[in-house]
Amino acid sequence: MLPLSLLRTGQGHQIMVELKNGETYNGLLVNCDNWMNINLKNVIRTSKDSDKFWKIQSCYIRGNTIKYISVPDEIIDLVAEEEQTLRTTYQQRGDSNRGRGRGEGFGGRGRGDASGRGRGDNSFRGGRGGGNSGDSSSASRGRGEYRGSSRGGRGDFRGSSRGGRGANNNSTA
């Protein structure tokens, strides 16, 4: 049982959050994310010495300021259920998805950037790569390939950030 899945399951429940500075926030957990940032609503904020109180309609609390969160007991059962259902859905999905590897166009890594760093530097050195010096307006992150050619073989091609070999006649920048 992961702490964050417990918290995720607690969405829609009343929780109590204590911050590092000692303040506590009691309210309905509306939303949370992987950084433990949370959204609460109908909050009662209590000062450190619990002598002052405020009512707040809704608030956002940054995860890294949280000391601990107390959740109602019944969540523990819900998590077990949810984990079970997740496991089954993942199993089903996993079968149909196998072998797809990465994809889904997330940009991600890869070399080449419009600034001409990385491999090659657009200085007619021949060599490989030749940087992709395409118009710097199109921020070419990810695996480049923003102008058609997907993976240079050899010779003239434009725009691929992954030059094979040969003159990369891409010196428009």
């Binding site: 009662i44 450190k48 010495d49 009512k55 940054r62 300021t65």
Partner: protein
């Protein structure tokens, strides 16, 4: 995943609905300001206009006094933003417990 799955980049904080409204921001370290939300980004950097800082008690920095300091237009760095809430519907109350 559940329906609440959140693509990593997007903040769960919907500041869109507070644009042009007065919000209250608490920072790590204890400072607290309120101002009119002019803009924000996904890192929760925030620009506030007509910002006022609540002056805190000299002896006990946890206590905010009624005194205020006018700051005007400010940019709040996201990494030090601890709490964000609308000023509207935020009021001191008696002990509810």
């Amino acid at each position: 995943m559940t329906s609440s799955f959140n693509p990593k980049k997007e903040s769960i904080l919907d500041l869109q609905k507070f644009l042009g409204k007065e919000i209250c921001v608490k920072f790590t370290g204890g400072r607290e300001v309120q101002g009119i939300l002019k803009g924000y980004d996904q890192l929760v950097n925030i620009t506030l206009d007509q910002t006022q800082e609540f002056i805190r008690d000299a002896e006990d920095p946890l206590i905010t006094t009624d005194e205020k300091r006018f700051l005007g237009l400010v940019v709040c760095r996201g990494s030090s933003v601890m709490m964000v809430c609308p000023t509207e519907g935020c009021e001191p109350i008696d002990n509810p417990y």
